[in-house]
Amino acid sequence: MRYLLPLFVAVLFLFEGTWFQVLFPRTLESEFIWVPRFTLVLIVLISIYKGSSTGLIYGIIVGFFQDVVYSSLLGIYLFSYGLLGYMSGVSYEAVKNRVTLLFVVVVLVVSSLELFTYGIYQGIGYTAMPFADFAQYRWLPSLLLNGVFLMIIVFPIRKLIRRLNDEERLLSP
């Protein structure tokens, strides 16, 4: 049971680059860019329910893999996943029980990641996308996609993490 969460994280990480890209490919005609940040959503949940230091560790490891495997530009996701994984854990206690608040946290996290990567790639000259285009074609669709994903996983994951926490409490004296 203890390995279930890391396994989930690993599967989601691979899912973003393989299954998602094959089954929902972008087409030349559509301008919308749907960016899956499923792993980050899961890390936010882990950070909220298991504490921010756990979130930080998950964030750093996944971010590092994201950097190395999908590009050769190191540092961007290592930094942002680590920071966001940590930050999402230091929120109000009430977030744990209210899905609306959880939703707000995920929206904030995904938005800050999108804005951060936009800033970086704009800064180093990879993209010349105007901000209005970025917001319309990339930011909003990505928020929608990841919001829907949160709605799908939030209840099962919450149940799972609570069970894991209970088990840990039973095992440790």
Binding site: L28, E31, V69, S72, G75, L78, G82, L83, Y121
Partner: protein, 307 residues
């Protein structure tokens, strides 16, 4: 209000921001070779990715089959009309090939820009964040692949090898926005010398590549086809199709022309690609060793390069 950062953590944050800037700065420039630990990570993740990717393609295949069955009548009609031309074209190609071979023999030319050997590879991943347009393939330096080799699908050129691991490599697509992502191309014009230019960058609104730095006097038109020229620093063979011109613009000073090129290959829907190497011995060696294995690394005979 829970406090976000204590003093110690604030310092830690500052240090990591500095680290971020340093890391991005160090890895930003074109790296011919990534470090060994990175190669190792890429290779091991790549092994799992290819399992994921194969199953994904299997599922997609089922879906595509249903669509195919629905369209089978229309497609059959279309193919029948195309078949009529087929016999004519085959005999013509055969004639041209012989003529070309004898002409080359007369000229005593052995190496041509159009010559290449190839190795086929499975696409195992795609960058999900879509800021950079890269894909991963399951062939690496152990299979004779080096950086800057051309990568094609059956339809045309898709990109070049950016860096290699032992068993995987990363391909930078033509649509990637990096400044150094530049490929020497030419426009074929009937009865005249081809016009040369560079494929540079991607026009997001049109969904087309930009072919830049062509002479202002060159008579190019919409509908003309664009292919690689085989010139320039990259080890690209000549006459690999890139796409078709859909729009032409003069630059602001009237010195050069820019054309928008609709790509021949579909960059978003690739299962297999081929990596080409011009006059390579490395890939040929690999083919000989590998003949018994399942992967067929075919040596392609290019159909009569003209220059």
């Amino acid at each position: 209000m829970p406090h976000f950062f204590s003093n110690k953590r604030l310092i830690l944050l500052m240090v990591s921001i500095i680290l971020l800037v340093v890391l991005v700065g160090l890895t930003l420039r074109e790296r011919e070779e990534v470090t060994l630990p990175e190669q190792f990570m890429n290779d091991s993740v790549g092994a799992v990715q290819s399992v994921f990717q194969r199953s994904a393609h299997f599922v997609r295949g089922l879906y595509d089959n249903v669509i195919d069955v629905i369209n089978v009548y229309e497609e059959n009609e279309r193919l029948k009309t195309q078949m009529n031309d087929y016999a004519l074209i085959t005999s013509e190609v055969e004639g041209l090939r012989q003529e070309n071979a004898s002409l080359l023999e007369m000229q005593e030319l052995s190496d041509r820009l159009g010559d290449y050997s190839s190795v086929s590879a499975l696409v195992i991943e795609r960058q999900p964040d879509q800021w950079t347009e890269t894909i991963g393939i399951n062939r690496g330096s152990q299979h004779g692949i080096e950086s800057d080799m051309a990568v094609i699908t059956v339809d045309g050129l898709v990109g070049r090898i950016q860096h290699t691991g032992m068993f995987t490599s990363q391909v930078q697509l033509l649509s990637d926005g990096e400044r150094m992502n530049r490929i020497s191309a030419k426009v074929e014009i009937e009865d005249e010398n081809p016009v040369h230019g560079f494929i540079e960058g991607w026009d997001r609104e049109e969904g087309a590549l930009r072919l830049q730095k062509m002479e202002a006097e060159a008579e190019i038109e919409e509908g003309q086809s664009v292919s690689t020229s085989g010139l320039g620093g990259l080890a690209f063979p000549a006459d690999i199709p890139i796409g078709e011109i859909i729009d032409i613009q003069m630059d602001e000073y009237g010195l050069t022309q820019t054309a928008l090129v609709e790509p021949a290959a579909d960059y978003y829907n690739m299962e297999h690609v081929m990596v080409l190497d011009r006059n390579s011995s490395a890939l040929e060696d690999f083919e000989e060793e590998d003949e018994s294995e399942e992967e067929e690394a075919v040596e392609l005979d290019p159909e009569g390069g003209t220059d």
